[in-house]
Amino acid sequence: MPPSPRNLPDPMVRGLTRQRLGRRDALRLSGLSALGMALAACGVEGKGNPGASAPAADAVAKYWAGKTSTKKVDFACWPLYMDPKQPELKKFTAETGVKVNYQEVIQEMGPWFAKVQPQLSAGQSIGYDLMVITNGIQFKQFKDSGFLAPLDHSKLPTFAKNAAPAYKNEAFDPGNVYSVPWASGITGIAYDPKRITRPITKLADLWDPAFKGKVGMFSDTQELGNFGMMVLGLNPDKSTADDWRAAADKLKEQKSQRIIRNYYDQSYIDALGKGEVWITQAWSGDVFQKNVSDGTNFKFVIPEEGGTIWTDNFAIPSTAANPVDAIALMDFFYRTDIAASLAAYINYVTPVPSAQEQMKQDAAKLSGDDKASLEDIAESPLVFPAESDYAKLHYYRDFATAAEQQEYQRIFEPIVLG
């Protein structure tokens, strides 16, 4: 009979059942000490340089020295941030001959940073020359880790001319050293009026037991935390750890009372569309785009207690292969006509105030429904907010130290994960 596994003596079995002494023990002990040394030897180098705000003046020159146009740009962005037919990009290509590869690969800031961090840390290209990132924890992490290229403002003349002054001095990037805004947006509440017949006006409506199992919230801890604090009447900007814990307890109510269906990233809009949720935390422009593309009738409101305002920004990763074309594309989006075209589709706040006038002029050339809807957008406070509208809106909580930020994360993350 040919040898089969059942017939072979099994040294493994013997080893497990009999005592072995001497050399084995010595080897084991030395193995353990080697393990100890190995454990201590592993470390992860940080690239961080927190506290460094503006880079040295020659850093800009050093970065851009010798970089030339390669006639292509790989652009990483979020879904629902551009007309799928990409008219603005086509125009750019027609005028400059630079090909743009537009990929909607960013769904949430946390995962995006975690995904590209190892590669940027190793000085490796991430496959993209331009990305759109939100101001917040991860923006700071990108900046402090040195992963963002310092911008050469001599290549951004249109930005200098057309951008609203408020966007030139944002707290998270004063002087636009590393970024220029793409669009600004508001986090509020979206709901389906077919399923929810009463008007929705307050954050507290997201806690209404009448909507049991049909409420959605964001999985991003910054979005979640802000709403948790605002519903309790707390101001996120100056909140303390106790405020965070109170907000966390309030958020946990949604889970314990089974009010919440799930925590979502950008996909909340699909869930709303499919009827998985009837009312959800939402980003202002998404709802309108969904209504236009799918013929739905969802409503978006800024709650009485307040909403969150954030800015998504263009940034160039430090290992970008085609930065010159990337920065040209950045500047292109500050042209009035381009900004108007983009804002008319995505319905987010544009950093170019002259776009409003442009939109009204464009509307005058149209007729009927098209004209009416474009005029609505031109007047919409969600695309061109007035000073007074900003009063109710809060930014994400800014963290002074990494320890503070970790504490915040550790308070809110378990809510999303469990």
Partner: protein
């Protein structure tokens, strides 16, 4: 071959593969252990300080998910045994000439990527999709009835994805049963039920045990099924670990949880092996 070469030959053969496994399986485990004991943050780097409190913090924060994963894994495994056994039994005893065909048919769906299959299930089970929608329209189900997002959906997904890993070992064990043994039982006046209970079942048990080994570990550490078919109330520890690595960049917590999960499962496997006797484990491994 000279005697020296004969002695050294196996070592040379093992060397390249063994080195690869050492570098990319064993060493990463050490790195992970090391990272779990480090402190710092992603921007400024981590340094080894032997900070074991991370384990306590992580486990207290997520023990619900850990326990839930083990429960889902156990439920899925039990369901698998119940569902797979009759199939394996039928093919082994009644399959006749067509045994390979039936086994092929069972394995056929696995030529499609499992991510795609799980997403297809989500499409089938959508709240208002082509299965639930009509049922709701005719009033058989309430309008807020949903399958997705429930523990049932997640466990069903686990059972679906791991079915062959239970059917095949059980089949192999049943197939090896010498039919003359069953015949002998019959000759001794055993009715079919007793013959099954006293002869077939015990002989099939090694296959069942092998199947359990092959399904409990991956089922408990799965995260795709829960992410696609579940909701935040069904979060499994796999999702937590994945989120800590790939959303929060919180490497120490993530590594601590990962190590804990592995330790729990390893202890389970070895306790299980002890209960059967080590030889069966090695038999399973040798297969």
């Amino acid at each position: 071959m000279s005697p020296v070469r004969r002695v050294l030959a196996p070592y040379f053969l093992i060397l390249p593969g063994g080195l690869w496994l050492l570098l990319f399986f064993v060493v990463p485990m050490v790195t992970m252990l090391s990272l779990s004991l480090q402190e710092g943050d992603i921007v400024n780097g981590y340094a080894f300080t032997g900070h074991w409190q991370t384990y306590l913090d992580a486990i207290t924060a997520y023990e619900e998910q850990l326990v839930r994963s083990l429960i889902y894994g156990a439920l899925a495994t039990i369901a698998l045994i119940v569902i797979a056994f009759p199939v394996a039994y039928w093919i082994a005893f009644y399959g006749g000439r067509h045994k390979p065909t039936y086994l092929f048919l069972l394995l056929l769906p696995f030529f499609v990527s499992f991510v795609l299959r799980t997403i297809s299930w989500r499409q089938i089970l959508t709240d208002d999709g082509f299965v639930l929608g009509p049922l709701k329209d005719i009033g058989l189900l309430g309008s807020s009835f949903h399958v997705l997002g429930t523990p049932f959906a997640v466990i069903a997904g686990l059972v679906y994805n791991f079915l062959p890993f239970m059917v095949l070992p059980v089949y192999v064990a049943l197939e090896r049963i010498d039919p003359r043994v069953v015949e002998a039982a019959r000759d001794l006046y055993a009715d079919p039920a007793t013959a099954f209970r006293k002869v077939i079942l015990p002989l099939a048990l090694p296959g069942v045990f092998a199947g359990v080994l092959m399904t409990f570990v991956p089922a408990s550490s799965d995260y795709v099924n829960s992410a696609v078919l579940g909701s935040s109330s069904t979060t499994m520890i796999g999702q937590v670990i994945q989120a800590q690595y790939l959303t929060n960049s919180d490497y120490p917590t993530a590594s601590a949880l990962s190590f804990t999960l592995m330790a729990v499962l390893l202890i389970g496997v070895f306790a299980y092996a002890r209960a059967l006797g080590t030889e069966d484990v090695m038999k399973v491994a040798a297969r």
